[in-house]
Symmetry: C2
DNA sequence: GTCTATACAGTGATAGAC
DNA sequence: GTCTATCACTGTATAGAC
């Protein structure tokens, strides 16, 4: 057994270090969120009891109820913490889209505004983005109803905004066609972040989604052409 | 506990029924494969012990070892049973691709040859195709190393054949570009079969991958245009 | 060849002694 | 807290019955 109990390491303390940007070094709330995100991603939502979770985080069992009401409230907060900044970034980039000389076509700009924040977050291993991506995938196959609800709450509004923008960009397409093609945009984004190993393997290591720049470029090029079909 | 033991029901027998196409009504081997596929899809590979599995199937514990050597051998046989006919169908359709008046362009034919058998199998709920699709997804997130191995063994060769065919079809593209676009083809196919609910939800129910004909048509149109980009 | 009963060695979890 | 005996359960191996 490699468990080794992992005694709660004393927090780094404030010795000589200037005040960080964050309001506090690592509060109970943030600590729970970070540990829960990792554990849920590793063992699934039902695979982690609140007892093991709070023990691992070095906090009291009851603090989950205090900060998040329930276990579902906890995972909802995890989603919120990751999705809110990503959605804001998507909408910021969407608002910045504009036609102009020397700029890519509007369609390419919109697609990039949608995928760039997601791919950047997943690529941010240190910041926990990769963990959250994995958590979403694990949850989807473990508790699809809860996953469906959380994804709807966090992604529906932004997705609708992009569907509208894409339809304004390609007005000759039917609403259904736009939806189908948006679905294939989601496909490319999802599969690229969730299973980068398959293309790496098939290409003998030559194509690697870990190279964010190349991945975004290839994805935008392919999907934009798909949207322009017929 | 709802186990209920399910005493091995006496096989239906051949009473008055003409000899079926299959060699036997339902042998131990087939029974194990079918039950295991369903249980693994529901509870994961590690979530099902050989004891509960054999009890559910109404067979002896040791018969798994006899027929499949090990638990890994069992899941390998499950993959083989589902993948072999699908791969044969893919290669048969690929061989049938040809240019000609009144036929779709070669590129569209190749893409359809790749996706049609997969989507048909997933749509075949009664035949267990949907269960196998779910099993693959669950396994991928539970035991990625085993999943990677099984997917490589069962899909690598056929995929390479299609990559070659696609490159012959679009010789001006680099090998890397072909691989990236094949990756997006896999994305569209994977996401369409694994999460048909998302587009159904976003489109207010108007777009539904359960309509196989429409799904294949939209997928082929989008992906073919993507392959022709630039 | 097919199937069965049973034995075996390894696992994580747990409860009680210290 | 820390060690240890025990337990329930796992996948696998084998000897023998049809």
């Amino acid at each position: 057994m490699t468990l080794a109990v992992r005694k709660r390491i004393a927090p780094p303390g404030r010795r000589g270090r200037p005040a960080a940007v964050e309001p506090e070094e690592e509060g109970t709330r943030e600590r729970i969120l970070t540990v829960a995100e990792r554990l849920f991603a590793e063992r699934g939502f039902n695979g982690v009891s609140l007892r093991t979770l709070t023990a691992e985080a070095g906090v009291n069992l009851a603090s989950v109820g205090y900060h998040f009401d329930s276990k579902e409230g906890l995972i909802a907060a995890i989603f919120d913490r990751r999705c809110r900044p990503m959605m804001q970034e998507r909408l910021r980039l969407l608002a910045a889209c504009a036609e102009g000389p020397g700029r890519p076509p509007m369609l390419e700009q919109i697609i990039e505004a949608f995928v760039l924040p997601a791919i950047s977050q997943t690529a941010d291993v240190a910041g926990g983005g990769a963990t959250f991506t994995r958590l979403r995938a694990v949850l989807r196959h473990e508790n699809s109803e809860l996953a469906r609800k959380l994804i709807a709450e966090n992604f529906d509004e932004t997705s609708a905004r992009f569907v509208d923008a894409l339809h304004r960009c390609l007005p000759r397409l039917s609403r259904d066609a736009i939806h189908w093609r948006f679905h294939f945009l989601l496909s490319a984004l999802y599969y690229t972040t969730i299973d980068p190993g398959r293309i790496r393997h098939l290409s003998g290591g030559r194509c690697d989604p870990a190279d964010t720049k190349v991945a975004v470029r290839e994805l935008v090029r392919f999907v934009a052409a798909g949207f322009r079909a017929d």
